[in-house]
C-alpha cells in the first residue's frame, strides 16, 4: 500500500545547527501514526517542514505516491494536509468561527459570508460531537485549554483534509479531556484520514496508534507497527536510538 504522505531524506538546518538528518517518514490513510522522540528530537520541526512553515534543505515529499512541492501553508492546505500546532496558533481576539476559517474565509463578492461560515463551523463541531462550547461566536480567549484544542482540531478537519497532524494535542489537558481528544483522533483515522499524532505519553501512543515512528536526535530511528513492539522497546528507541535489532545501526554521535 502506498502511504498517503511520505517524506524521503529530509535534511533541515537552522543556521549552523542541523536539526533533521536524512529523515524518512510515512503516514497511511485510515491509520494513526505516532511520532515520538525526546524533547528537541525534531518532531515539531519535521511537522513544520511538511506544513510548509519551514523550507526543507533537501529531500523529497510525496503525496499519494506523487512528488509534490510545498512552499507555504496554503500549498499544504490545498493538498489536504492540516496541522494542529503545539502552540495551537489561534487568534485570541477572534471568535471560534473566525479562527476556523482564518486565511480561507468564505466570501460572497467583496464581503465575508458569515452565515455560511457559521453553518459549516457548527456542522463540523457537532460532527466531532463537541458540545462543550456555549456559542461558536465566543472569543477564543474565553475558552479552556481543552476547548481551544478542540477548536484547533475542528479547524483542521473542516477542510475535507486527508492528512491531519497533531503536535502534542493532549500535553496540557486533564484526564477526561485527554480521553476525549484521543477518542477524536481515533475517530478521524477510522473515517479514512491519515492521522499523525505527536506525543510523549506512551500510554496514549499505545492506546490509539497503528504505527510508531521514533525520532532520535534528528534521525529516524525506526518506524514500526505498534502491535510489533513493547513499551520498553519504544522507550529505548526514544532514549538511545536503538533497541535490539531495531533502530540506528552504526551508533550515532550526537
Amino acid at each position: 500500500m502506498t502511504p498517503l504522505l511520505e517524506v524521503r531524506g529530509v535534511d533541515k538546518s537552522f543556521g549552523p545547527v542541523q536539526v533533521l538528518h536524512d529523515v524518512n517518514f510515512q503516514a497511511h490513510a485510515g491509520e494513526v501514526t505516532a511520532l515520538v522522540g525526546d524533547n528537541g528530537a525534531g518532531k515539531s520541526t519535521l511537522v513544520k517542514c511538511i506544513g510548509g512553515i519551514h523550507p526543507i534543505d533537501s529531500g523529497d515529499m510525496l503525496f499519494d505516491g506523487a512528488p509534490v512541492h510545498v512552499h507555504g501553508p496554503r500549498d499544504a492546505g490545498e493538498l489536504g494536509i492540516e496541522i494542529v500546532y503545539q502552540d495551537l496558533a489561534l487568534c485570541d481576539n477572534l471568535d471560534i468561527v473566525q479562527n476556523m476559517f482564518l486565511g480561507r474565509e468564505r466570501r460572497s463578492g467583496l464581503v465575508l459570508d458569515e452565515a455560511t461560515m457559521e453553518e459549516l463551523a457548527e456542522q463540523t463541531l457537532s460532527g466531532l460531537s463537541v458540545r462543550t462550547v456555549k456559542s461558536i461566536r465566543q472569543q477564543v480567549s474565553s475558552l479552556s485549554g481543552g476547548q481551544r484544542q478542540t477548536v484547533a482540531i475542528a479547524k483542521a478537519v473542516l477542510w475535507n483534509s486527508k492528512v491531519v497532524i497533531l503536535d502534542e494535542p493532549t500535553a496540557a489537558l486533564g484526564v477526561a479531556q485527554t480521553a476525549q481528544v484521543l477518542e477524536l483522533v481515533r475517530r478521524l483515522a477510522d473515517t479514512g484520514l491519515a492521522v499523525v499524532l505527536i506525543s510523549h505519553n506512551m500510554n496514549d501512543v499505545f492506546a490509539v496508534s497503528d504505527r510508531i515512528a521514533a525520532l532520535y536526535l534528528g534521525r529516524m530511528a525506526a518506524q514500526v507497527k505498534t502491535a510489533d513492539v513493547t513499551h520498553a522497546q519504544v522507550v529505548e528507541l526514544i532514549t538511545a536510538g536503538r533497541s535490539g535489532d531495531l533502530g540506528l545501526k552504526n551508533g550515532v554521535t550526537p
Binding site: 506544513g51 512553515i53 507555504g72 501553508p73 496554503r74 492546505g77 496541522i83 500546532y85 502552540d87 495551537l88 496558533a89 489561534l90 487568534c91 485570541d92 481576539n93 477572534l94 473566525q98 482564518l102 486565511g103 480561507r104 474565509e105 466570501r107 467583496l110 464581503v111 465575508l112 452565515a115 457559521e118 453553518e119 456559542s135 461566536r137 472569543q139 480567549s141 474565553s142 479552556s144
Partner: protein, 420 residues
C-alpha cells in the same frame, strides 16, 4: 413587510435559538466585567465632561460652541481613524501628525502657489500620504525596524519636510473656496435632515435584513428589540445633534445666517462607515485583526502578514492626509506647525480613549470618533474655562495616561480571568 406564518413547531425551535434583548444585555455586562470595556469609558467620560463644563461655563452649551466642537475635533478624529489600523497591529505611527502637515503643505503649494484646481491638490495630498505610508510600512514589515523608531525618525524628517515645502517658516494661505468650505461651511438645514433620515433608514434596513437572513437560515440573530434599541438610539442622538446644528448660530442673522450641519460631519460619517465596513465585513479586515491578535497564527494560516502591515500604514498615512486637508481648510492656511504640537498625541489619545488597545488586536474605527469627541470636549471646555496651554497639556496628558492605564488593566484582568 409580509411575515410568513411559521409552523408552531418551528417557531418553538426559533424561540429557543433566538436570544432575547436580556441575553445581549447580560452578555455585555459579562464582557465589561471581564475587562473588555469597549466604548464605555469614552461614553461615560463624555457625559461627565459635558455635564461639568456645562455647569461651570453655560456658554459650553450654546449652539455655536456645539458646532465648534465638530470642526475643532474633525482633523484629530480623522487622523485617529487611520491610527486605529496601525494600533490594531500593535504598531504605532508617531509621524501621523507631521504626515498630515506634509500633505497639507503639498495641497497648499499645488492649489495656492501653482494655481491647480482643488481636486488635483486634494488627490495629490492623499496620494502623498499613501506613498509615505507605503515607505513607513515597508521599513517596518520588510526591513524589520520597529515602528516606534521608523516613525520617530519620520516625525523629525517630516517636520523638516514641512519647513521645506512652506519655505522656512512663511505660511501659505488657502483661498480656494471649495477647500475652505470643508471645515468652514455648513449643509443647508434641509439637506442635513435628509442625510440624517437616509442614514437612519439605511442603518435600520441593513440591521433588519441581516437579522432576517440569519434567522431564515436558522442562525442566532439579533432580536428585533435589540435592533429597535440600536436604531432608536442612533435616531435620537443623531436627531438631537442635527437639530442643534440647524439652530441659528449667528449673532446677527439678518446680516449673515449661520446654521446647518458642518460639512466635515458627513465626511467623518462616510469615512466611519467605509472603514468600519472594511474592518468588519471584508477578508482584509479580518486578516488585520488576526495579525494583530497573533501574527504567527496568521502567517501559518497563509495570510501575507507583511502585505497587511504595509496596507495598514498606507491607510494610516492616507487618513492623516485627509486630516491635514481638514486642518488646512479650518485654518485657511498651512504653516510649519500644521500637524505639529499636540496633534499626534491627541490623535493617539483619541483612539486609545475610545477603546482601541495599544497592544494590538482590539479596536474599532468608531473608537476614534468617540475618543476624538472626548478630546475635542476637553480642548474646547478648557479654553472656555480660560485655562492656559499649560493646564490643557497637563490635563490631556493625564487623560491619555488614564486611557492607556485602563487599557493595560483591562488586559491584565482578562489574563487573570484566564482569558488569555
Amino acid at each position: 413587510m409580509s411575515k410568513v406564518k411559521e409552523l408552531p413547531g418551528e417557531a418553538q425551535v426559533e424561540a429557543v435559538r433566538q436570544p432575547s434583548i436580556g441575553h445581549s444585555v447580560r452578555a455585555y455586562t459579562e464582557r465589561v466585567r471581564s475587562g473588555d470595556m469597549g466604548a464605555l469609558p469614552a461614553v461615560l467620560g463624555l457625559i461627565v465632561l459635558c455635564t461639568a463644563f456645562a455647569i461651570a461655563r453655560p456658554s459650553f452649551l450654546t449652539a455655536i460652541n456645539f458646532a465648534n466642537l465638530f470642526t475643532q475635533g474633525a482633523a484629530i478624529t480623522v487622523i485617529a481613524m487611520g491610527l486605529v489600523f496601525v494600533l490594531l497591529l500593535g504598531e504605532i505611527d508617531l509621524s501621523a501628525g507631521f504626515t498630515s502637515g506634509v500633505c497639507a503643505a503639498v495641497l497648499a503649494v499645488l492649489v495656492t502657489n501653482m494655481g491647480m484646481p482643488w481636486y488635483v491638490g486634494v488627490l495629490a495630498a492623499i496620494l502623498t500620504g499613501t506613498v509615505i505610508g507605503s515607505v513607513l510600512g515597508t521599513l517596518v514589515a520588510k526591513v524589520g525596524i520597529p515602528s516606534f523608531v521608523v516613525t520617530l525618525a519620520a516625525f523629525l524628517a517630516f517636520q523638516g519636510l514641512v519647513l521645506v515645502l512652506v519655505h522656512e517658516g512663511t505660511n501659505i494661505s488657502i483661498n480656494d473656496p471649495v477647500i475652505k468650505a470643508i471645515a468652514q461651511k455648513n449643509l443647508p438645514p434641509a439637506l442635513g435632515w435628509a442625510l440624517y433620515a437616509g442614514c437612519v433608514a439605511i442603518y435600520a434596513l441593513v440591521q433588519i435584513v441581516r437579522a432576517r437572513k440569519r434567522a431564515a437560515r436558522g442562525l442566532v440573530a439579533d432580536p428585533l428589540s435589540l435592533i429597535a434599541a440600536r436604531v432608536g438610539s442612533l435616531a435620537v442622538i443623531g436627531g438631537a445633534a442635527v437639530y442643534a446644528l440647524n439652530l441659528e448660530r449667528s449673532f446677527n442673522p439678518a446680516f449673515a445666517s449661520l446654521k446647518g450641519v458642518p460639512i466635515v460631519v458627513p465626511i467623518i460619517v462616510a469615512l466611519l462607515v467605509l472603514w468600519t465596513f472594511v474592518l468588519r465585513r471584508t477578508g482584509f479586515g479580518r486578516h488585520l485583526y488576526a495579525v494583530g491578535g497573533n501574527a504567527e497564527a496568521a502567517r501559518r494560516a497563509g495570510i501575507g502578514v507583511d502585505r497587511i502591515k504595509v496596507s495598514a500604514f498606507m491607510i494610516c498615512s492616507s487618513m492623516a492626509a485627509v486630516g491635514g486637508i481638514i486642518a488646512a481648510s479650518r485654518a485657511s492656511s498651512v504653516d510649519p506647525n500644521t500637524g505639529g504640537s499636540s496633534v499626534l498625541l491627541y490623535a493617539v489619545g483619541a483612539a486609545v480613549i475610545g477603546g482601541t488597545s495599544l497592544f494590538g488586536g482590539k479596536g474599532r474605527v468608531l473608537d476614534a470618533v468617540l475618543g476624538g469627541a472626548v478630546i475635542a470636549v476637553i480642548d474646547n471646555g478648557m479654553a472656555l474655562m480660560q485655562y492656559g496651554a499649560s493646564v490643557k497639556y497637563l490635563v490631556t496628558g493625564f487623560v491619555l495616561l488614564l486611557a492607556a492605564g485602563v487599557d493595560a488593566i483591562a488586559r491584565k484582568r482578562a489574563s487573570a480571568a484566564g482569558l488569555r
